[in-house]
């Protein structure tokens, strides 16, 4: 197992090199330069290009950049001139990571719980509640959710009903400030997980081995937790990748809506500013996260389902 994980981690290197090549070529193939917006003379721009090494041939630029990155140096931002990219990342990224991680957890725990409860109480009130959440969540994208939450909790409740729960449109890192952004981010993945878990639970409940478990006299709770749940968790695990991607892109909107100083806002800004070093760093980081997530998914998979053999035939 350890050997397998080690091998997969090594495989991440060529993957990430490909990702880095992709973003490097794409960023440099786009028209416009980091200094196009400045009202400066051609000489100044040429000087700036020389300063950032942008006058060198592209392959050379790539090699310089990637070897610096491997040493943990992402270079200077071309927009926030005096700041190094890793400084900006270190400052902005933890906030985004925290919100994303909490939202992922909420989505998984909430979604699985709701899915299991709906399946166990099939056609009962809880089931209808679960289905309602699943339907609404699937069609209410994160920025709709973000605005509706803001509208209800920051405007309608305090202004019309004078119920002030202490939510606001600014962000200071207070635990309470996390609630609305996390709710907005987690809603859609929670709905997806709920409906997948419910469907696979229902499949499992009707299967022969569950009938056998009941026939041999196991209590209902034991049947559900030991026999049904384990098999019903599989689809939720396969969703890790897409859900991470969704939450990652969701942070752009949620950070903008709730004025959170996270990396999502910087990313969009740096794209329009053609801030190559920052964009490429964020993209690489994102790619690294995604590959780690996919690896985690495979490993968890093999733990939950013994039929999945990661190391090949044994």
């Amino acid at each position: 197992m350890l050997r397998y994980i080690g091998g997969r981690v090594l495989w991440m290197i060529p993957t990430l090199i490909l990702v880095s090549l992709f973003i490097f070529v794409l960023m440099h193939a786009t028209p416009g330069s980091p200094f196009q917006l400045e009202k400066s003379s051609a000489e100044f721009i040429a000087n700036q290009n020389r300063l950032y090494g942008l006058d060198k041939p592209l392959p050379q630029q790539y090699v310089v950049w990637i070897s610096n990155v491997l040493r943990g140096d992402f270079g200077y931002s071309t927009f926030f001139k005096s700041r190094k990219v890793q400084e900006i990342l270190l400052e902005q990224f933890p906030v985004s990571l925290k919100i994303g991680a909490i939202a992922t957890l909420v989505a998984f725990i909430g979604g699985i719980t709701l899915g299991v409860l709906s399946a166990v109480n099939q056609n009962g009130p809880l089931d209808y509640a679960g289905t309602l959440v699943a339907t609404l969540g699937a069609s209410v994208p994160n920025f709709v959710a973000a605005f509706l939450l803001l509208f209800v909790f920051v405007i309608v409740l305090p202004q019309t009903f004078h119920i002030n729960l202490g939510f606001r449109t600014t962000f200071s890192g207070d635990p309470k400030d996390f609630i609305l952004p996390v709710a907005a981010l987690a809603f859609l993945p929670l709905a997806t997980i709920t409906s997948f878990t419910r469907a696979s639970m229902l499949d499992a409940i009707r299967s022969d081995y569950v009938r056998t478990a009941r026939a041999k006299g196991l209590g209902e709770q034991r049947v559900i937790t030991r026999h049904v749940l384990k098999n019903a968790l599989m689809p939720a695990i396969t969703l890790i990748g897409p859900i991470f991607a969704g939450i990652g892109t969701g942070t752009f909107v949620v950070e903008q809506t709730f004025a959170i100083p996270g990396i999502g806002r910087y990313f969009v800004q740096s794209l329009t500013n053609r801030d190559y070093p920052l964009v490429m760093a964020v993209f690489l980081l994102y790619g690294a996260f995604l590959t780690v997530m996919v690896l985690m998914m495979d490993v968890i998979y093999s733990f939950v389902d013994p039929r999945v053999s990661l190391t090949g035939s044994r």
């Binding site: 209410v140 994208p141 709709v144 605005f147 009707r206 752009f252 794209l271």
Partner: protein, 320 residues
């Protein structure tokens, strides 16, 4: 028409002959069918019947039709121009009889702007789906028809594309190519065709082994003929359902991109852009942001209800 056929003639009869659920009796006897009045029907009419029995789907369909109407005739039915100050220059006036959705920060009629926003949304939705279909059906057909190595190679490409978060790539493509409706359609279409390709391929893989395809091949039909005349028409129903789910996805994509400010350039109204413009007035004039947000929400709900209804109607056996 009074004679009772040996085989069920349509899908509605198939419901009677039901699928065994393990403990239920499987009803296949003609005696049972006899009690049901047989009407001559076809798959399409059957599907329509089932669709119109589903209230949510009908509501969804009505809303979608309304959107299409508004999108096409926005410039005839809107009371003002989308970039025109209303007479009297009311700034950020709340919804009223004269301005059903209020007016915005520069005294433009929100009702008008929402209508033109619908036009952009529908245009993007349809455009993106067309691009997705073009890429997805082409690749899916090649993979599904040739199977074997071609299939493996193409599906590997699909796997790689599907692990890449589409919206992130769309953001980068759009930032690279600049704002504009054509670029949005390109960026969203080129990143989100995976579902369609998989669906087409899966259908063709299962269809190509059927006897009528073999017969056609024996009769000397070319691969192109088989794909276009036999395989593709028979893969249409799941594709229709996939399209009803892909359109709202694209509409959301455009709203998202315009919201973060790299989508469509003002003054062209789009729902996402209107939300972004209204955001700063959320405290004092919430309608500026909330109305376009609700438009996006209702559109997505409508398409989802319609899609769910279509899926149930077109696939009565519940295979998908």
């Amino acid at each position: 028409m009074s004679s009772i056929p040996d085989q069920p003639t349509s899908t509605s009869d198939l419901i009677l002959s039901g699928k065994s659920n393990g403990d239920e009796l499987v009803v296949t006897s003609n005696a049972f069918i006899e009690e049901v009045p047989l009407k001559q029907t076809n798959l399409l009419r059957d599907a329509m019947y089932r669709l119109f029995r589903n209230k949510l789907a009908v509501m969804g369909l009505a809303f979608v039709l309304l959107l299409v109407f508004v999108a096409i005739f926005a410039n005839f039915i809107s009371p003002y121009g989308f970039d025109e100050k209303v007479p009297g220059e009311f700034y950020r006036s709340p919804p009223s009889w004269w301005f059903p959705f209020g007016t915005d920060n520069v005294a433009r009629d929100m009702f008008t702007r929402v209508m033109f926003g619908a036009r952009v949304s529908m245009f993007v939705g349809v455009g993106v789906v067309l691009v997705q279909l073009a890429i997805g059906i082409t690749l899916g057909s090649f993979a599904g028809y040739f199977a074997g190595n071609v299939d493996t190679a193409l599906m590997r490409v699909v796997d790689i594309v599907s692990t890449v978060p589409a919206l992130i790539i769309a953001i980068i493509l759009l930032a690279a190519r600049g704002p504009g409706i054509a670029n949005i359609i390109f960026a969203l279409g080129i990143t989100q065709w995976v579902t369609i390709a998989r669906l087409t391929r899966g259908n063709m893989l299962s269809l190509r082994e059927l006897d009528y395809i073999k017969a056609s091949r024996t009769a000397g039909a070319s691969g192109r003929y088989i794909v276009l005349r036999h395989l593709l028409p028979n893969s249409l129903t799941p594709l229709i359902v996939a399209i009803t789910f892909a359109i709202p996805e694209a509409i959301f994509g455009e709203a998202f991109l315009s919201f973060i400010g790299i989508g469509i350039r003002p003054p062209q109204p789009t729902w996402g852009g209107m939300v972004a413009e209204g955001q700063q007035f959320l405290r004092s004039d919430a309608h500026l942001a909330i109305i376009p947000v609700l438009c996006v929400m209702f559109t997505m709900l409508a398409f989802r209800f319609l899609g769910d209804g279509l899926r149930d109607a077109l696939d009565p056996k519940g295979n998908n």
